[in-house]
C-alpha cells in the first residue's frame, strides 16, 4: 500500500526546501563573489595572486610572512640589490666599534598608517612586544636594553655583538608595529587588523579569498634605489588573492585577471617564458634543499656511507626532471647568502661530483658489499635499507625523491620513501625519529646553520664541538669578510662530516603581466617593491 496524499505534499515540501536553500547559498556566493572582484578599475588596482592565505597579519605573531605582511609593514632597514643594507624607515644608523650598540635615527614626520606618530618610544615598545609574543622571540635575545635617546633616536644595547640580528631587521619580522594599538585592541584583534607603517594598509580581509589593501597616505621611505619616497600615486589599491591551485593562479594571470603571480609552479616556467605578455623575474633562493641525515643511526653513523650517498646522487638529472628550475648544489650556503663563498662550492663540487665508482668503493671500504646478488649491498647479513622522508607539499622535493631512490639503488642502497607534509617531516627530524629526510631552508644570513647543526640551538642529531664553537663565534663577527671566513670553515668541516647532503638551490619565479611597469623584485627573498610601479591600461 502506498500512501498517496501525504507523499505528494511531502515531496513538494522537500523540493521547495531544496530550492530555497540553493537560492540562498547561491545568492550568498554571488554577492561575496561581487565583492571579491570589485569595480573594474584595473589600472588603479594592482592584483597579486599568492598560493597561501596568511595565518594572521600581526607580523609578531605569525610563523611565516608573505606579500601581505610585506606591504603592510616597513622594516627599519632592508637589503639592497647588491645584498648591502640600506635604509627604509630609518634615515640612518650607527653601530659602535665593538658592535654592541646600534642607534637608529628616524624621520621627524614618520607615521603609522592610522596617523599615529612613529617615534622612538613606539619602536622600543614594538621590539619589547616581539620579545614576549613572537615565536621567534629568540631573535632579539641578545638585545639587553632599548633606550629612547630622544623622540627620533632609539638605541639598542646588546649583550654581545650580534650581526645576525641584521638578518632579522632587514625583513618584515623586524618591522615596527603600532604596539599602542595592539595593547588597546588585544593581540587577537591586532592579528586580524594590524597597524604598520608600510606603503599599504589593510581595508578588508575576506577569509579563504583575498585581502584588500589601500594606499597608506602617511607612507614615507628612505630606500635609496626607489624614486618615489612617498605613497604611490598610481596604485590606489592592492588586492592580494589567495589561490592555492597552481594552474588556476597561472590561468588567472594569463586571462589578465591578476597582474602578479607568486609561487610559479616549476612545470609552467618554460611555457610562461615563451608568453610575450608575461615577464618572469627569477630570484635564487637564499637557502638550499638538502637531505638531513640522522648521524646517530646505524649505518649512517659511518661517514663513508654518507659520502657514498653524496657521491651517488646525480644532481644534474634532478635538475632535468625539475625542468632546469634548480641549480645543482654541493655546499651549504646558496649564492644569495650573505656569507656565500664561491671557492667552498667549487671545492665541494670537486670532492663530490657524481661518481658511482667512488661511491661503491666507499661502501665497500665500510664493509657493505652485495654478497647474495640481490642488488642490495649488505654487511653481516643485513641489507642496506634506508627510509627517506619526503614532503607531499613541496613539489621540488617530492619529485626529487623517487630519482634519489633510483640513484642510490645503483650503488646498492635500497630506499623506502615515506611522504608526509613538510611540517611533519620537520617535526620527525626534531624528534630524531628518521634516517634520511628531505629538507629545505630559506634565510639569507649564515646564522641559520646554528639551528641546523649546532648541538644545542638546533638540537638535531649532529654534534661537533668545533662546529659549535665556530657557529657561536660567527654570530658575533661584525666584519663581513672575517665572518665569511668563519662560515667557510664551518662549511669545510660539514663537507667532511656531511650531516646534511646538499642537493640544489631553487630558482624562484614571480610572473608579472607586462602592463605592470617599474616593478622591482628584490633578491634574495623576491620582495615586491612597487613604489615606482604603475599599470598601463588594456
Amino acid at each position: 500500500m502506498r500512501v498517496k496524499g501525504i507523499s505528494s505534499k511531502l515531496i513538494v515540501a522537500i523540493v521547495i526546501l531544496i530550492v530555497i536553500v540553493a537560492s540562498v547559498s547561491a545568492y550568498f556566493i554571488y554577492t561575496s563573489q561581487r565583492a571579491q572582484l570589485g569595480a573594474p578599475q584595473l589600472e588603479r588596482t594592482l592584483i597579486i595572486a599568492i598560493p597561501e592565505e596568511p595565518e594572521g597579519l600581526d607580523i609578531q605573531q605569525v610563523t611565516w610572512a608573505n606579500e601581505v605582511h610585506g606591504l603592510i609593514y616597513q622594516p627599519l632597514v632592508i637589503l639592497g640589490p647588491n645584498m648591502s643594507i640600506v635604509p627604509d624607515l630609518a634615515v640612518s644608523w650607527e653601530v659602535s666599534e665593538d658592535g654592541t650598540v646600534i642607534i637608529f635615527h628616524l624621520s621627524k614626520d614618520a607615521k603609522f598608517s592610522n596617523g599615529d606618530p612613529l617615534t622612538a618610544e613606539v619602536i622600543k615598545k614594538s621590539i619589547e612586544r616581539y620579545k614576549t609574543i613572537s615565536p621567534y622571540a629568540e631573535d632579539f635575545a641578545d638585545v639587553e636594553r632599548i633606550e629612547v635617546l630622544d623622540e627620533y633616536t632609539v638605541k639598542l644595547i646588546l649583550k654581545r655583538p650580534a650581526p645576525y640580528l641584521w638578518a632579522v631587521l632587514v625583513t618584515v619580522y623586524g618591522a615596527p608595529v603600532n604596539a599602542n594599538v595592539a595593547e588597546k585592541v588585544g593581540d587577537a584583534e591586532f592579528n586580524r587588523n594590524p597597524v604598520g607603517s608600510g606603503p599599504y594598509k589593510l581595508v578588508e580581509w575576506v577569509r579563504g579569498s583575498h585581502v584588500v589593501l589601500e594606499r597608506n597616505e602617511y607612507y614615507k621611505t628612505n630606500i635609496p634605489f626607489v624614486k618615489n619616497k612617498g605613497p604611490n600615486p598610481y596604485i590606489d589599491k592592492v588586492i592580494i588573492r589567495f589561490i592555492p591551485e597552481d594552474l588556476t593562479r597561472i590561468a588567472e594571470l594569463e586571462a589578465g585577471r591578476v597582474h602578479i603571480v607568486r609561487g610559479v609552479p616549476l612545470t609552467e616556467v618554460k611555457r610562461l617564458k615563451e608568453n610575450p605578455n608575461i615577464q618572469l623575474y627569477e630570484t635564487l633562493s637564499p637557502g638550499i634543499h638538502y637531505i638531513m641525515v640522522n648521524v646517530l643511526k646505524e649505518p649512517l653513523n659511518d661517514v663513508r656511507v654518507r659520502k657514498a650517498i653524496m657521491l651517488a646522487i646525480n644532481r644534474d638529472e634532478i635538475a632535468t626532471v625539475l625542468e632546469g628550475n634548480v641549480v645543482p648544489w654541493y655546499s651549504f650556503l646558496s649564492p644569495t647568502n650573505l656569507c656565500f663563498n664561491k671557492t667552498v662550492e667549487e671545492l665541494a663540487e670537486k670532492l663530490y661530483a657524481y661518481n658511482l665508482e667512488k661511491a661503491r668503493e666507499l661502501l665497500k671500504e665500510a664493509g657493505w658489499v652485495d654478497t647474495d646478488g640481490d642488488g642490495i649491498v649488505d654487511k653481516n647479513g643485513v641489507p642496506l635499507k634506508l627510509t627517506l622522508l619526503s614532503a607531499v607539499d613541496d613539489p621540488a622535493l617530492k619529485k626529487a625523491a623517487p630519482l634519489i631512490q633510483a640513484h642510490l639503488a645503483k650503488v646498492g642502497i635500497a630506499i623506502e620513501i615515506k611522504e608526509y607534509t613538510y611540517d611533519y617531516v620537520r617535526s620527525l627530524t626534531r624528534e630524531w625519529n628518521f634516517e634520511l629526510a628531505l629538507r629545505r631552508f630559506s634565510w639569507a644570513d649564515p646564522d641559520i646553520l646554528i639551528y641546523l647543526v649546532h648541538s644545542e640551538y638546533g638540537n638535531y642529531t649532529y654534534s661537533n664541538p668545533e662546529v659549535d664553537r665556530l657557529l657561536e663565534l660567527g654570530r658575533g663577527v661584525v666584519d663581513m669578510t672575517e665572518r665569511t671566513k668563519v662560515y667557510s670553515k664551518v662549511q669545510e668541516i660539514l663537507l667532511e662530516d656531511l650531516p646534511l647532503i646538499p642537493l640544489f638551490v631553487l630558482k624562484e619565479y614571480t610572473a608579472v603581466n607586462k602592463n605592470v611597469k617599474g616593478l622591482i623584485v628584490l633578491p634574495p627573498y623576491g620582495d615586491l617593491i612597487i613604489h615606482d610601479a604603475w599599470i598601463e591600461k588594456g
Binding site: T267, T320, L403
Partner: protein
Amino acid sequence: MIRLISERIKLLSNNETFKLFLTYKRGIIGLLLLSLMVFLALTADFIAPKKFDEVDPSSRLLPPSIKYLFGTDHLGRDVFSRVIYGARIALWVGLLVVLVEAGIGVPLGLLAGFYGGRVDKFISAITDLIWAFPPIVLALAIVTILGPGLTNVVVAVAVVSWAPYTRVVRAKTLSIISREFIIAARAIGESSFSIMLRYILPNTLPPIIVLATLTIPSAILYTTALSFLGFGAQPPTPDWGLMLSEGRDYIFKAPWCCVFPGLFITLTALSFNLLGDALREVLDPKLRYG
C-alpha cells in the same frame, strides 16, 4: 567446515545455477574483464617491457608510441609497465580490504544474530556508530594516525566499511536460527560455536560472496582516492591512485599519465560490479546492498 564449503561450491557449479549465470551476459563480460586483470597481474614480470621503477629522465613525458604504449611520465618511467604492475596492487588491495572487512564483520554478525539480547544490542550499537561516519572522512582521520602507506590505507578503509557484513550476516542468521536443522543440532548437544561454524556460517556464504564482490570495487575506489590525495601508496609504487596524483601536475602537458591509470581503475571496478550483479541475481536475489 571445509566439506560444507566445498559442497557450497559444488552447488555453485551445479549445472542449473551455472546455466542461469551464463544467461547473464554482463556477468560473463565482467568475468572476462576480471580474468584479463588477473592475467596482467600474474604475468606482469613477463609482459611489462620495463620495470615499474626504472627512471630515465632523458625520455620523460613522451607521448604514447610503439616503444612506450601508454607514453612515459615525468621521471621517464614507462606508463604501460606501471599500469600493468598496478593491476597486481589493485587486486591485492581489493582482496585484502574485503578479507579484513569480512574478518571483522562476519563474526560480529554471527554473534549478534545467534545470541541476540544484550550481545546483539551492543554489537548493533557499534555497527550503528561506525555506520554514522562517512567512510572517506573517517578513513582520512585513521590514515592520519597510522601514517601514510598502502597497508595503513587498507586497514583504514576496512575499519570504516565492515558494517554491511555484520548487518547482512546478522539478518541471515536471524532468518535461519529457528529452522529445524539448527534446533536439531542443539538437541543433539552441539556446542554453540560449532553450530555457528558448521550450520549457520555456510548458509550466510552466498550473501557474503555477493557482498564481497560488490565491495571490492568500492574498496579499490576508496584506496585509490586516498592514494590520490597523497595518504596512500608511497612512490615509486605503481599504484593507480598514486600515478594519477603524480600525473596531475602534467595533466595538460602529458594527459596520458592520468588517462590510462584511471581507465584501468574503471575497468577493474567495472569487472567486479558486473560480476557482482550477476552473482546477486544467481545467489541471493533479495540482497539489496552495494
